[in-house]
């Protein structure tokens, strides 16, 4: 689970309600609302911090311990220093897996952001049926990823799949089998991942687009801006920070995106679609090499935490402007 606040909540023009509220904070203090409740706050915050420490911090530390140990799945850990990392780097699979991971995550994030921006501009410029679209576009993101992955991989089967049935009726034959070839397997996975992710990015972008003050839009139109100029000169610059945040988050989520690929190809054919989380999963739960698996996870984890920190920095600096 992942959450970072977008900038747009704070881009909102300070409404009169909000200004009014700020005034009331001091008033609350005067009659003692704040002081007694502050104690209650710690009563409720303590278990929250304890839970997060137990389920996030401790396991993360354990991953580091495992990455410098040998552990076959049973018994005590045996300290082996940097052996696991050395093994991972010398095995030669790592660079391929890193490349596939980046290629997959980068393509998906780029396509998601581009599609979501186009669709948000269509809806905010008042396309007919926009309300219906807003609901339907989220469908692919709501169904379990494994279920939609199975639907698509079944549909791409040669001869029997629905995609091939459609291709056949328009005369293109029914032998299209992109998932079966090492060269092409990643592309349908990228498209299905984009298909499942766009709805969410769209909703966030729409929120950002609609928080652009109406007065600003009107001023531009009075100055004679057309729809295209409006999009490139006003909408795009104003939602750019949100676009950047969504891109980074989608990237992080897909670097970590085990499910879609596992359900469509299990990393195959061969190692063609084996992104890092699948590499780590197989090391641990297929080959029982938990140490090397932990080493891979730690490498990915460090990279993602740095990226995540940068992205929250990014969205926070956006807020302060």
């Amino acid at each position: 689970m992942n959450s970072v606040f977008t900038k747009h909540a704070d881009v909102n023009p300070p409404s009169s309600r909000r200004i009014f509220l700020k005034g009331n904070v001091k008033k609350g203090k005067k009659i003692g609302l704040n002081r007694t409740n502050a104690r209650t706050a710690w009563v409720f915050l303590t278990p929250v911090f304890l839970l997060l420490f137990t389920f996030l911090t401790l396991p993360a530390i354990n991953s580091f311990r495992l990455s410098v140990s040998q552990w076959p799945g049973l018994g005590p850990l045996k300290y082996v220093g940097a052996d696991n990392f050395r093994k991972v780097f010398s095995e030669g699979k790592l660079s391929h897996s890193v490349f596939v991971t980046f290629f997959y995550s980068f393509s998906v994030s780029l396509l998601v952001v581009a599609m979501a921006a186009i669709m948000a501009s269509a809806v905010s410029s008042g396309i007919r049926g926009g309300k219906f679209m807003k609901v339907v576009w989220f469908f692919p993101g709501i169904a379990p990823p494994t279920a939609v992955a199975i639907f698509w991989s079944t549909s791409l089967q040669p001869y029997t799949g629905i995609v091939n049935a459609i291709l056949n009726t328009i005369g293109l034959g029914d032998e299209f089998a992109p998932l079966a070839s090492e060269e092409t397997a990643i592309y349908p996975i990228i498209l299905v991942s984009v298909w499942a992710s766009v709805g969410f990015a769209f909703l966030v972008l729409l929120g950002a687009t609609e928080s652009i003050p109406v007065s600003l839009r009107e001023a531009a139109f009075i100055d004679g801006a057309n729809v295209w100029q409006h999009f490139t000169k006003i909408t795009l610059p104003l939602i750019k920070p949100v676009l950047l945040t969504i891109f980074t988050l989608e990237f992080i989520w897909h670097v970590n995106g085990f499910t879609m690929i596992w359900a469509m190809t299990q990393g195959g054919p061969g190692f063609a679609t084996e992104i890092l989380p699948i590499y780590a999963y197989k090391e641990a739960f297929v080959f029982a090499r938990f140490g090397t698996a932990a080493a891979i996870s730690v490498l990915v984890g460090i990279f993602l935490v740095i990226l995540g920190a940068l992205s929250t920095r990014l969205s926070r600096s956006g807020q302060l402007e």
């Binding site: 689970m1 992942n2 959450s3 970072v4 909540a9 009331n24 008033k27 609302l33 409740n37 502050a38 706050a41 278990p47 839970l51 137990t54 389920f55 396991p59 993360a60 354990n62 991953s63 495992l66 552990w71 799945g73 186009i118 219906f132 807003k134 609901v135 339907v136 576009w137 989220f138 469908f139 709501i142 169904a143 379990p144 494994t146 279920a147 199975i150 698509w152 079944t154 049935a165 298909w195 709805g199 969410f200 966030v204 609609e210 729809v227 295209w228 969504i246 988050l249 970590n256 085990f258 499910t259 989380p277 999963y281 641990a284 739960f285 938990f290 996870s297 935490v305 995540g308 920190a309």
Partner: protein, 278 residues
């Protein structure tokens, strides 16, 4: 000119995408009530003899595998436990934190945001190790608690943002009426926060229903699997029984879709206003 082309392009994209987002679910449901031969030979036919026994085969499952009756129940347990844990732990904390000095509230938020950056890949193996040694593998309630805790940061952040903007005069009115702080929260604030809690809770529901990376490790026995993992083993066991497979996909996909349609008012608003959640 450029402007017109762009508008036509954007609208065309929007319509094509609408079809692409909608049609697969029509097919999933349609194939779920079609027999396997019909699916393979004439998948596009709309008139066919319905085969409702697909669902009963999927529901009872194969020999030695869980079947959708068990997986459905396990997923329900996961969702309910996850919602109970995340809401009970995060909502009161998110409310009372707003009374801390502003700077401290900010620091609390930053610490919790950091919690959201820990990727599942870093958690799965240690979870497996600990669950294994405590004998908690294949216990949906235990995995549900993990889900609940992982949902706490998002729940906390979205609810805290909501409570920061909550009208203070309501709270002061309660104080004037002589209500205690806890009663102000339970009698005045909670009823007015139901919409926000639903929209945050819905995100947890969707995530817990579809989560696979952790469940595939902590719930690896067929009878203990949730529906998102169950469909994978079902495809393995029923590889040629397309009818039953699609009936199973319907059982996995439609409960969250129906919940979404029923609650879409809260959900779309919640995401647009709240931020990014996954």
């Amino acid at each position: 000119m450029k402007s017109q082309v762009f508008r036509v392009f954007a609208n065309l994209t929007a319509w094509i995408w609408t079809i692409l987002a909608f049609i697969p679910f029509v097919f999933i449901l349609l194939f779920g009530v079609k027999n396997t031969t019909d699916i393979m030979i004439k998948p596009l036919a709309i008139v066919f003899k319905p085969a409702l026994d697909n669902f009963s085969r999927a529901w009872s499952g194969g020999v030695g595998s869980g079947g959708f009756s068990a997986w459905f129940a396990n997923s329900l347990i996961l969702v309910i436990v996850a919602l109970a844990v995340s809401i009970c732990a995060a909502v009161p904390a998110a409310y009372f934190t707003i009374f801390l000095p502003k700077k401290i509230n900010e620091i609390v938020r930053i610490i919790i945001i950091t919690g959201t950056t820990v990727p599942s890949i870093l958690l799965v193996i240690p979870y497996f190790k600990t669950f294994n040694s405590l004998g908690l593998l294949n216990k949906p309630i235990a995995t549900g608690i993990v889900y609940g805790v992982l949902a706490i940061p998002t729940t906390f952040l979205l609810m805290n943002r909501f409570f920061i903007d909550f009208p203070r005069e309501v709270l002061e009115a309660g104080l004037v009426d002589g209500l205690s702080n806890v009663r102000i929260f339970s009698k005045l604030v909670l009823p007015l926060s139901v919409g926000q809690i639903i929209s945050v809770g819905f995100m947890t529901l969707i995530w817990a229903w579809g989560e696979t990376q952790i469940a595939i490790v902590l719930l690896n026995k067929a009878s203990a699997q949730p529906i998102a993992v169950g469909v994978l083993s079902f495809v393995g066991d029923f590889s040629v029984d397309y009818g039953a497979i699609f009936a199973g996909l319907s059982l996995a996909a439609f409960p969250p879709l129906i919940a979404y349609i029923a609650l879409s008012k809260y959900v779309t608003k919640g995401i647009a206003l709240g931020g990014i959640t996954k």
